[in-house]
Structure formats: structure tokens, C-alpha cells
Symmetry: C2
Subunit: 182 residues, 2 copies
DNA sequence: ATTTGCATGTAATCTGTTACATGATTCA
DNA sequence: TGAATCATGTAACAGATTACATGCAAAT
């Protein structure tokens, strides 16, 4: 079906009205672990969705002059979003990750270089994991109601933590295996 | 540094000489779990790498007429490839996965719909895992020498298996949590 | 003979990033 | 008053997919 950014924006506007800037911030924080978009992609998409009649906006004044566009979803937009949500689950191409590619080729480096690259990657993913676990702290309990947006937040954060933990475990095993035969 | 396809191709040609078609097949099989490219991207890139002096080719005749270009890496290409391999590990943007986005938004669906979407995803990832484990069978033992390409093969396949196992575990936990409160 | 796979390319389109560009508001 | 953040946009380029286009070779 594609047009994923469209549905990501519709999904967020389905929860509450937001400005382009708010959307950008959301992509930088909450969704960052599985989707992202820069403001240079968001603003044109908002324009397009407005033209398609999927969203609309009202202008608000911040301070005395600054105009901001507060977008909300329309009936048409909600319909298209739900239609997308209900479309069948499909296998996706496995995401591209440069560090796995480098590990794939790492045989051409000497053992010391292999080890130091793996160690650097472990450090990177440890930091990411720490950051994710910090985010998890804001949930003092597991959200009870699956129909709230906090519930979705919680699920994907849990998924991201599990993913990082496994990545680290994998990298550590790689390191062990390389070190074993030096 | 970017230009990842360039280095992916150089890395493969560093192991052995290949045609564009061979590269395409490799991207469909071995590398598929962490990198991919269509032939329409590969052929122009080969042309470019040839012009840059990173690779060169000789024409071979298959059958009586069919010409194929057998590419090999040049000294310049090898140098640039190793330079890339040795460049510092950097944090990457987390890869985009549509199914995580849908799960993030799943609160707007009713419990039955949430459950069936999760069940479909579990099935997809179970199939993928099975396929990966089948691939693993070709290694009757763990490759001993970290300087061979089989060793890299083995490592990334192990990583892909671990990733799928964790994904399934996550999806199952999501399903449980949704089912618990219905 | 027909189908599948081998083999190579281009064109159009879509998606995404980096850079360019501007200006107001808020907080220290 | 200066820096950080809020706020919105466009242009140029890079990366990737889908569709268009062709033809040989091998196996059934």
C-alpha cells in the first residue's frame, strides 16, 4: 500500500490535533524507535494531505504575530487511516543495517580490528538500551487499557528494548567467537 | 559516509569476481537479511564504479552469443572498501518497520482486530524464522576461521535468527497483554 | 515448443536527507 | 541581548522501487 508517512501522520492526528512542528517532535521522540521523518518531509506531506481532504487546519497565533497551523484529521482521513490499519499483515523487506553488513564482511580485517569494531557497536547499542530503559521509567505501571495510546507506546517501547537486548547479546557472541580463535 | 551499495558491491567483489546478475542473486539470498538491491539499482552502480576505477570487467560468452560482464575489484576499489570497513562505528537511525507502526496505533482497533493482526504477524515471522533455520543447516559445524567469508555468513545468519526469535517473543507478549483485558 | 532462468539495461516515480532560507518567541 | 527553541517552508540531491524493454540459454 505504501505512503506510510501519510498513515503515520494520520494516526497521530487521529489521537489529537497537532502542528507540523509537534509532529516533527513526535517523530523524534516516541516513534523514533521504528519510524522517523524530518520536517522537510513532513510539511510537504501535510500540504498534500490537506489537498487530499484527509486533514484540515486552523491557524493559531502564538505570542502576537507567529502563526501556527493546528492540524486535525477529517472524516475522510480517519476512514483512510482505519482502512490502512485493517489491511492485511504483509511480510516486509528486512530493514537495512550497515553494521550487520560490516560484520558480514569482517573476515577481511584482522582479529584486532574485528574485535574493536564489535566492541564499538556493543557500546553504541548499550547506550541506546540505557536510553530506552530510561524512557520506560515514565510508565510506573503497565497501561491497563489496550484502547489507549499509552498502551501502544508501552508495547513498542517494550519491543525496542527487547530488540536492543538481543542485538547486544548477538554482538557479544560474535566477539567471543572472534576472540576464541586468535 | 553513505554510498552503502557501493561498499556492499565492493565487499562482494573483494571475495570473488561476479556478474551483475550474480550480485543480484546474492542480494536476494545471503545478504537479504540485512541488505538488498534490485537489478535496476545494481547495474547503474556497477557502471559508476567502473567509471570511478573501483572495479573492472571482462566480457565472457555464455553459450554462443550471450555476453556477460564478469566484474572484479581493482586496487583502488579494495583500498576504498577497506577504508570504509575501518571507519568508525556510528549509531544508525533505527530501521523503519511498518508493522511496529501499526502496533503503535493499534489502540484504535477493537480487541478482536488487534488480536488477529498480531496473530498474522506472528505467522509471518514464524515462517521467516523457519526459513532462516533451514539456511543454518548448511553449516554442519561452526566455521572455525574468522578470516573466511563463511564465518561472516554464519555470524549474520545467527543474528537474523536471534532477531526473529525476539520479534516473535515480543509479538506473543503483545497478544497476551491484549487478550488479558478483553 | 514452451517455460523458466540467465543476463542487461533505462525511465519514471517515490521516498528520504541535507542544505538553503526566514522569522518569532522564550528564557537566561 | 543573545541563545535556544518554536515555527514553516523550498530546493537540490541521494537512494530505492516499479515499470518498461529486450533477448539468449537450458531444461522439460
Amino acid at each position: 500500500m505504501a505512503r506510510t508517512l501519510k498513515y503515520a501522520i494520520l494516526g497521530l492526528l487521529n489521537q489529537q490535533e497537532l502542528t507540523g512542528y509537534d509532529l516533527m517532535k513526535t517523530f523524534e521522540s516516541a516513534l523514533n524507535e521504528f519510524w522517523s521523518a524530518k520536517h522537510s518531509q513532513i510539511y510537504p506531506e501535510l500540504k498534500k494531505l490537506d489537498q487530499e481532504g484527509c486533514i484540515a487546519y486552523k491557524v493559531e497565533i502564538a505570542g502576537s504575530v507567529l502563526e501556527k497551523k493546528l492540524y486535525h484529521i477529517t472524516e475522510k482521513g480517519r476512514e483512510e487511516f482505519l482502512n490502512w490499519m485493517r489491511s492485511e499483515a504483509e511480510p516486509e523487506a528486512t530493514p537495512k543495517e550497515v553494521y550487520r553488513l560490516k560484520i558480514f564482511f569482517s573476515g577481511c580485517l584482522d582479529t584486532e580490528e574485528q574485535k574493536s569494531y564489535l566492541a564499538e557497536q556493543i557500546e553504541i547499542h548499550r547506550l541506546r538500551l540505557e536510553h530506552l530503559k530510561n524512557n520506560q521509567k515514565k510508565f510506573d505501571s503497565v497501561p491497563a487499557d489496550p484502547s489507549t495510546s499509552e498502551f501502544g507506546d508501552y508495547l513498542v517501547l517494550m519491543g525496542a528494548v527487547m530488540r536492543e537486548e538481543t542485538t547486544i547479546e548477538w554482538l557479544e557472541r560474535c566477539l567471543e567467537m572472534v576472540a576464541m580463535r586468535e
